[in-house]
């Protein structure tokens, strides 16, 4: 499975700046849109859990990760297994970065501005060097973006940057790159902030030496076992990082991973299973770090297949779910109730739409109206990501109250021939902003459109194209609200909840932000292991 549990690929873009603020920041580029705000503009809801006083240098940070194997790889621009995320962020950086509050901040670029609906300009920071001492220049950015867009490389970021014309990425000067798009696209800033769209030096290949600009240099790597990363003494953020070395160890089993943490063989671990959270909390020298993820496991109703071609049935099914009960049972309450809409961290997410609650009477009456009383449906699921099977079973139980019989099929071959052709199925998704998510799952050209959205005759696609072409964030949000309303009223997704990221670490480690909205585990691995240290 492709974007397997890995899928946390956030496109979360933080509060895009208001147009007024943009204009102020953009300065001379009057009318241009500058996404990257000043670094200091944080101050959101998350808090540093363990300040541990003044950061100090030194030590080897050992991280235990699960979900890896022989497929593990290091590539500055893609991942296959989940541990790949932990390894990528140690050595590679992006032009823009998401902070702990989902706000886009400057990274290797000082600014990224949309000069026209289909033209973007990237201004690089000066004085950044790669691990081999070579200075970062516009040539590296051109090479990096062209590599992402080379389809035979099979890189993660290609789909999101599809509007960029690889032949029309031009070097303006040594620190400036211009992108001429194939069509209007307001999401380029989001895409450039994705952790997997790392900047690599000209000539970079996966098989060659791993050279990035990140806080740690690659020393050794054996897939499925471990990797060693050593401090980059010439890192451009002066004084950072703090550890001498970071060692990332693959664990085949979460029990072994927890035991290694309990016995002090690792300093932090990703994805503590719900049943083990209290075990970890029971140890005074360990702490649980809970981040607000926005992963989702939708129940997908294909809107053109019976019985779901009748919107009454879709609405009835959405009213059958007891979302809070499902959250408690599937994720032991570590998450938040959802409202059948994805991308909750998108500033354009419409939180004004009323929260749906279980309403069996209303569901029954809608089914009656559709002439589908005592309905029997098949629900297909698989062990593709945590919670997929549980969600299906719990839905089946809850549906009985409305007289609906749901036969759950747990099929190991789920992603085979039948995938995307099923009337009713469970899938999984990571965190993305609204428009990038639509491109992936909610329009006919999307690779994974489980619900066969939108209905024929709907103006949804027109709205989508309009949103892509709209550089103004608040006007774009209005359009997105209209799109969300359509999905809320007629869509095929049942999205009961978003699950949190639950990780654990030794209290020797300081600097993690709890409640972080970082898309990757452990506060995006302590932001590339540069904001954490041994107290």
């Amino acid at each position: 499975m492709a974007d397997t549990p890995v899928e946390r690929t956030g496109d979360l873009n933080g509060n895009m700046l208001t147009r007024r603020r943009l204009l102020i920041n953009a300065g001379v580029l009057a009318g241009g849109v500058m996404l990257a705000g000043p670094l200091a503009a944080c101050g959101g809801t998350s808090t540093a859990t363990n300040t541990g006083g003044t950061p100090k240098r030194g030590g080897t940070f050992r991280l235990g990760v699960t979900g890896g194997g022989a497929k593990d790889l290091i590539d500055g621009q893609t991942i296959i297994t989940k541990p790949d995320q932990a390894r990528l962020v140690a050595g590679f950086e992006t032009l823009l970065e998401y902070d702990k509050d989902y706000k886009l901040q400057p990274g290797l670029a000082e600014s990224v501005t949309q000069d026209a609906p289909d033209k973007w300009t990237i201004k690089l920071r000066s004085g950044v060097t790669f691990h081999d001492g070579k200075a970062l220049s516009a040539d590296d950015v051109v090479y990096s973006l062209q590599r992402i867009l080379t389809s035979k490389e099979g890189l993660f970021g290609g789909a999101g940057l599809a509007s960029v014309d690889p032949k029309n990425i031009t070097k303006v000067d040594n620190l400036t790159v211009r992108l001429n798009l194939k069509g209007p696209d307001s999401t380029i800033g989001d895409q450039l902030g994705q952790y997997y769209n790392g900047i690599v030096p000209v000539g970079y290949t996966r098989a060659g030496t791993q050279i990035g600009t990140g806080p740690y240099k690659y020393q050794s790597f054996t897939p499925g076992q471990q990797s060693v990363h050593v401090r980059n003494p010439n890192y451009w953020r002066s004084g950072l990082p703090y550890f001498d070395q970071v060692t990332i160890i693959d664990f085949p089993d979460v029990t072994a991973q927890v035991n290694a943490l309990l016995s002090g063989q690792i300093d932090a671990m990703t994805d503590v299973p719900a049943a083990q959270i209290n075990v970890v909390k029971g140890h005074s020298n360990l702490a649980v770090l809970e981040g607000q993820g926005a992963d989702w496991r939708p129940l997908c109703m294909a809107i053109d297949m019976p019985p779901f071609d009748d919107n009454n049935v879709r609405q009835a099914f959405r009213l059958i779910v007891d979302r809070n009960a499902m959250l408690q049972q599937v994720f032991s309450g570590h998450g938040r109730v959802a409202n059948d809409l994805y991308s909750p961290f998108d500033p354009a997410y419409d939180s004004a739409l009323p929260q749906r609650h279980q309403d069996i009477a209303q569901a029954k009456s809608l089914l009656k109206k559709a002439g589908k009383e005592n309905l029997t449906v098949d629900l297909h699921t698989t062990d593709g990501a945590a919670g997929m099977v549980d969600s299906a079973n719990i839905f089946a139980t809850q549906a009985k109250a409305a007289g609906v019989t749901v036969n759950v099929h747990n099929d190991p071959n789920y992603y085979g021939d039948q995938y995307l052709k099923l009337a009713f199925s469970v899938d999984f998704w990571g965190t993305r902003n609204y428009l990038p998510q639509v491109a992936n799952g909610s329009i006919p050209s999307a690779p994974y459109n489980e619900c066969h959205w939108p209905p024929s005759g709907s103006n949804y696609i027109a709205l989508y194209n309009q949103a892509l072409a709209e550089p103004d964030a608040s006007k774009r949000a209005d359009i997105i609200h209209q799109m969300q309303k359509l999905e809320y009223d007629q869509g095929g997704y049942i999205i009961p909840m978003f699950n949190n990221l639950v990780d654990a670490y030794s209290t020797k480690v300081a600097g993690f932000n709890s409640g972080s909205k970082a898309t990757l585990n452990l506060d995006s691995f302590g932001h590339g292991y540069r904001s954490i240290w041994f107290a």
């Binding site: 194997g69 022989a70 054996t222 499925g224 035991n259 063989q265 994974y448």
Partner: protein, 332 residues
């Protein structure tokens, strides 16, 4: 297993121990051929399109075509099987889909690590269980026998993942923190570089095997000690040491060899669980990963390797039994 019953014992089967071994080797090869057919059928010759099953959600027409080519799926099933089996005979188990390197290269370090773990566990558990079983029989119904019988019965009833986890809780995490809970073998490293980390996995495997063997050894020894020839030896006035070493022990070992072989072969499977618990970088983890990733060449190679180990161990047990049981030798 030995053919204790059936089969002519007349002149046609004569040929001594050499012919016997040759015959057993041929039988073993036949078993391996049958196993290879089953393994192949279960992994590759399934109905439906294995390529699609393997690639799942990421399947693209190009990657499907590639994989079908790599698996020779476009050719008749018989031909696919012969290509694969022929490769195995030449030591070529194909290329791992996940690791993108030859299966033999990918597995070689892991096989060494697992073999070391098995060998060490075997070297400790076999003498230990023989000694425990023999003394329990000798001191029948005395405290040592009662206590060891009880302990071995309890341990035999516990699956090794329970034993392993209990050991971790006792010695590594909750009660005492004196031993590492997992063994982290750095790339290029070897398990024997970390003797402390080996203690719990080896102990788990020893506890998994020793009870069975010790109980069989005890039963077998009890039977022998009650036999006429031991009685005779004692009546002749031979010293008890000599009675035990010369007459009782060798005869009690025969049936025990079979059980040891079965248990060692069982270890090759049980080691998967143990490697899992202790994060040991061996074939167990590789097999689990390969199954999860639909990495068919690795699954096939490991299934064949484990089947091979079963055949070899059984062969050795049969030979061992023959060697210590003159009675059987004369029947060859």
């Amino acid at each position: 297993m030995l053919e204790r019953s059936g089969g002519p014992t007349g002149p046609a089967r004569r040929g001594g121990i050499r012919m016997f071994i040759l015959r057993r080797i041929l039988q073993g090869l036949l078993v391996l051929v049958l196993v290879s057919i089953v393994v192949f059928a279960a992994t590759q010759a399934l109905p439906g399109d294995p390529a699609r099953a393997i690639l799942g959600r990421t399947a693209t027409p190009a990657s499907l075509a590639n994989l079908r080519e790599q698996l020779h799926l476009n050719r008749p099933v018989i031909e696919q099987y012969l290509t694969w089996a022929g490769g195995l005979l030449h030591g070529d188990a194909g290329t791992s889909f996940s690791a993108q390197e030859p299966v033999t290269k990918y597995l070689s370090d892991r096989i060494v690590n697992t073999a070391f773990l098995l060998l060490l566990s075997g070297l400790i558990s076999i003498p230990l269980s023989i000694v425990i079983g023999a003394y329990a029989a000798l001191w029948r119904d005395r405290p040592f026998d009662v206590i060891t019988s009880l302990i071995t019965l309890v341990l035999a009833a516990l699956p090794e993942f329970v034993v392993g986890l209990v050991l971790v809780v006792l010695f590594a995490t909750t009660v005492f923190q004196i031993l590492p809970a997992v063994i982290v073998i750095p790339p290029g490293g070897r398990p024997w570089d970390q003797p402390l980390g080996l203690i719990l996995p080896v102990l788990t495997l020893v506890l998994a095997v020793t009870p069975y063997v010790a109980r069989i050894m005890r039963a077998s020894m009890v039977e022998v000690l009650e036999s006429d020839y031991v009685e005779m030896a004692r009546l002749k006035g031979l010293p008890e040491r000599l009675v035990l070493r010369r007459h009782a022990l060798p005869n009690a070992l025969g049936p025990t060899f079979q059980v040891i072989a079965i248990n060692l072969a069982y270890l090759a499977g049980g080691v998967i669980v143990v490697e899992y618990i202790f994060n040991f970088a061996g074939i167990g983890g590789a097999l689990r990963n390969a199954v999860q990733d639909h990495d068919i060449p690795v699954v096939q190679a490991l299934a064949m390797a484990i089947a091979g180990l079963y055949v070899v161990l059984n062969l050795l047990a049969d030979i061992g039994t023959i060697v210590v049981t003159p009675r059987l030798r004369t029947r060859l």
